[in-house]
């Protein structure tokens, strides 16, 4: 059954937690349980190999105490031996990671939207990142993975708007890591490199529901110093004007800069600003979950729960750092600086529903973006 937005009678594309729970129980659970068994096997292998390292490490300590001249060579030998011992663990871990992506994430992607494709090794192109114009510096190093692309709505002829255009919104997103390399000379005159992260997180590109030319960027206020447009070279600051909009709350949170004041207001209507504010300042839904969480029964469980709390993330935590938006030539660029790897797992932590739910939330956020900002609403002319 389709979810319908009451106000605009639009189909809602994001899924609820209840829908996820049901899907998990019916479809994913057996797969996740099988993968958890594989994780435990890998853990057993790791433990076995760790035991084999106890003697060499003890020997290394003795060498360090009694034959300190040889300590360096002994240390190198133990490191090499350790690397050899754990090479199988690494291989198994990598294979398991790949399996999780192929089996669980791919299924989740299709559960969330049949029209999405998932390519674990691909990512949104660097030129798209530069086109968004959000950051002053173009990245020198750019990497990523987990590309999900497709569309929401319908591309069928029978579901068209009044001008015969399909009522679909193209959408793609991936994890990206953009870095700037700064070269400098140290005290001895040697050239060295310092690497700064420009952005690490989820990068989304979606069709905007109106046609427009030019560029408008909406960035968090406190980051104003770092964010200057880059595409128009050194004179760019003069070409992008700051816009003062009527929504005081919005202007307190974001800085808006544009190539054209009217276009900025065409995009950022009072209603859209309101929706953008609601989307970026959503209340966390975590409270109830934490209250019902069980107490740890052992030190091991407490350790795992602590690790889990540190590494697990759900949709709400992304917004601890305000997202960036940019609108350029009919497209909307959206960046969530989550500063972490997505769709990954920790060998020390169980593969369970909580982890899979965090994957679900990462994908679902793209659909929530379409729903909350009404990106599939087509009451304007859009080619």
């Amino acid at each position: 059954m389709k979810n319908i937005d009451e106000m605009y009678q639009l189909e809602r594309f994001s899924k609820t937690d209840e829908e996820f729970e049901l899907y998990y129980e019916n479809e994913l659970k057996p797969k996740v349980e099988a993968l958890e068994k594989e994780r435990l096997k890998t853990m057993d292998l790791a433990k076995g190999q760790a035991k084999k390292l106890i003697l060499p490490v003890a020997g290394l300590i003795l060498i360090y105490i009694f034959l300190s001249d040889l300590a360096f060579y002994a240390f190198a030998a133990v490191v090499l031996y350790g690397a050899y011992l754990f090479s199988d663990v690494r291989k198994q871990r990598k294979a398991l990671s790949q399996k999780i992506k192929e089996e669980v994430v791919t299924d989740l992607v299709h559960f969330l939207n049949q029209n999405f494709t998932y390519e674990p090794r691909k990512y949104l192109a660097k030129k798209q990142f530069i086109r968004s114009n959000i950051f002053k510096n173009n990245p020198d190093r750019y990497s990523g993975d987990d590309l999900i692309k497709g569309f929401v709505g319908s591309d069928k002829k029978e579901v068209q708007d009044i001008d015969g255009n399909p009522t679909k919104t193209d959408l793609s997103f991936s994890e990206v890591h953009a870095q700037k390399v700064e070269r400098y000379r140290d005290k001895n005159g040697k050239t060295k490199e310092r690497v700064h992260t420009i952005f690490q997180g989820l990068f989304f590109i979606a069709d905007y529901n109106k046609d427009f030319d030019g560029l408008t960027i909406v960035v968090p206020k406190k980051r104003k110093i770092n964010i200057l447009p880059s595409i128009f070279d050194s004179n760019s600051e003069n070409k992008l004007e700051e816009v003062n909009l009527e929504n005081i709350e919005f202007m307190d949170k974001f800085t808006v800069r544009t190539t054209d004041q009217i276009t900025a207001r065409y995009i950022l209507t009072p209603n859209f600003m309101h929706r953008l504010m609601e989307f970026t300042t959503r209340e966390p839904e975590k409270a109830e979950q934490q209250e019902t969480q069980e107490q740890p029964k052992s030190i091991k469980e407490a350790f795992q729960m602590g690790l889990s709390a540190a590494s697990n993330s759900t949709t709400e935590s992304y917004f601890e750092t305000a997202p960036y938006f940019s609108f350029r030539n009919g497209k909307m660029y959206f960046m969530l600086p989550t500063k972490k790897k997505h769709f990954e797992f920790n060998l020390l932590l169980p593969l369970n529903k909580d982890l899979i739910k965090s994957y679900f939330s990462d994908i679902n956020i793209a659909l929530e973006l379409v729903d909350e900002l009404n990106l599939n609403l087509r009451i304007w002319n859009k080619e």
Partner: protein, 186 residues
């Protein structure tokens, strides 16, 4: 010594006059430019409305009620000599448009006329652009009015004849929330 102080004060005052005048002039030019943009969108809508009426006349083979009034209001806009007159003429047209649209929509044969629906959609789109241009114009006008109303610039504004400019207000009927559900069901 006293003379130097007097010259210093006079120089500071002169500088303040020049800076204030330039600020006000610059802001007034911004308002005019913003109005130019708004005017272009408003005229585009008037033209599309004209197209809509012509399409309705052809499709229904009837004279559209109130067409003369629209023509008269359009002439009022074209014939306006300055920004204030044009603004008033546009506001008059703005009030008339919902009534004109309602009158046209009474003809059932238009409901499935593709040309008519296309123009209607185009007007819908222009409406959004007008809202953006109107907000831009009001923002510049607000800034200008604030500039010339605050002390001591209000004294300089009086000397150089800078007077406050009207905003482009939306008629009350436009402020009501649009029932999109009803629009789609229509």
């Amino acid at each position: 010594m006293g003379m130097f102080v007097a010259i210093g004060i006079a120089a500071v005052l002169a500088l303040f006059f020049v800076i204030s005048y330039n600020q006000m002039k610059k802001q007034a030019v911004n308002v005019e430019n913003a109005f130019g943009d708004l005017d272009a969108f408003l005229m585009k809508r008037v033209d599309q409305l004209d197209n809509l009426i012509q399409t309705a006349r052809v499709a229904t083979d009837k004279e559209i009620e109130g067409y003369e009034k629209i023509i008269g209001l359009r002439e009022g806009i074209v014939g306006a000599h300055n920004m204030d007159e044009k603004l008033k003429a546009h506001i008059n047209m703005q009030r008339e448009i919902p009534m004109a649209m309602a009158r046209i929509e009474r003809y059932p044969e238009l409901k499935f006329n593709e040309n008519y629906l296309h123009i209607q959609r185009s007007i819908n789109d222009i409406e959004e652009q007008i809202q953006a241009a109107r907000r831009n114009f009001n923002s510049h006008t607000g800034k200008y009015n604030q500039l010339i109303a605050t002390f001591p610039r209000n004294l300089i504004a009086g000397i150089f004849g800078f007077t406050s400019k009207p905003m482009f207000e939306t008629p009350p009927e436009k402020r009501e929330n649009v029932d999109v559900k009803a629009l789609f069901n229509r």
